[in-house]
Symmetry: C2
Subunit: 172 residues, 2 copies
């Protein structure tokens, strides 16, 4: 009986979304961002800018420095940069579109591996990300996704200004 | 004993985030978007564009058509537009910055009221939004927030191109 009650309770207490659903949300956005990176001609990826903003390569590189280093720290309590944590065989500081996409793909695998190590109860644990940003884990990870959506939206304007059709926003 | 087990279970099954936390996330983003609308000079809000894209007023008006009409439908099963659902005293189709901000503020109140009527178990209910977009409620609402972040990021490029400093992204 107790088990029945528990499983019933569990079915109605996924909360707003489950950790697995959040991971799919995150990786869906990363998949779209990969296509936005790939839509840029190589020279424009590293140089095109509007209003003094960074080129899209710099925005994409910012995303690569956030996911894996944050997850690694959330699990171990040690805050290290991508220079230490980049998966073997890829450059932490890519200088071509090919190198950037190779880094992106290696991080895609690593993000899933690391995210799955966070116990469900820990998503509401208060931490200090890089000893600098205080918050609960769920909120800090959500911020990382929001930051990617925000800057990727800027990449869409760059592509439109370059007369290039960006990928559909709703296709993940 | 059973109660103890249940409350312990409940404490560790907030899922990734609770509905209340999602609402705070959504309203935090809406608060930032309000400041982005307000940062535009009135004429540029309704006219400035890059690469053939819509002016920021049109993007902001798109956001206003999504939140309340979606929530209303999720609760009642009836899909109606903002022309029917706009709160009393505000214009569904604002033509000045003042009218747009007044609509925004009225919808802020309404979104909280409507969102709080959704039972927690319903966030995983499969629906067809406007008889057009199939998905679970949590995912459809998340899409509405993502769409706002995405297009607001584009508004940041407009502001930068106009030499106007946008609000900090991390301040909600």
């Amino acid at each position: 009986m107790e088990n029945n009650v528990l499983s019933e309770k569990s079915a109605t207490t996924k909360g707003y979304m489950t950790p697995k659903e959040f991971l799919a949300h995150w990786q869906g956005h990363r998949s779209l961002t990969r296509r936005v990176i790939d839509a840029f001609p190589e020279d424009q990826l590293f140089s095109f800018s509007i209003g003094g903003m960074r080129p899209f390569s710099d925005l994409a590189k910012e995303f690569t420095t956030m996911g894996v280093p944050s997850l690694h720290g959330m699990i171990t309590g040690e805050w290290k940069g991508l220079d230490v944590l980049a998966p073997a065989g890829v450059k932490a500081n890519p200088e071509t579109k090919e190198e950037l996409l190779a880094l992106w793909d290696a991080l895609t695998v690593r993000i899933t591996e690391l995210f799955n190590k966070i116990p469900e109860a820990d998503f509401h644990k208060q931490i200090s990300l890089f000893n600098q940003y205080d918050g609960e884990i769920y909120s800090l990870l959500l911020y990382i996704v929001d930051n990617e959506i925000h800057h990727r939206g800027q990449g869409y304007v760059y592509l439109r200004a370059l007369n290039i059709e960006p990928p559909y926003f709703y296709e993940r």
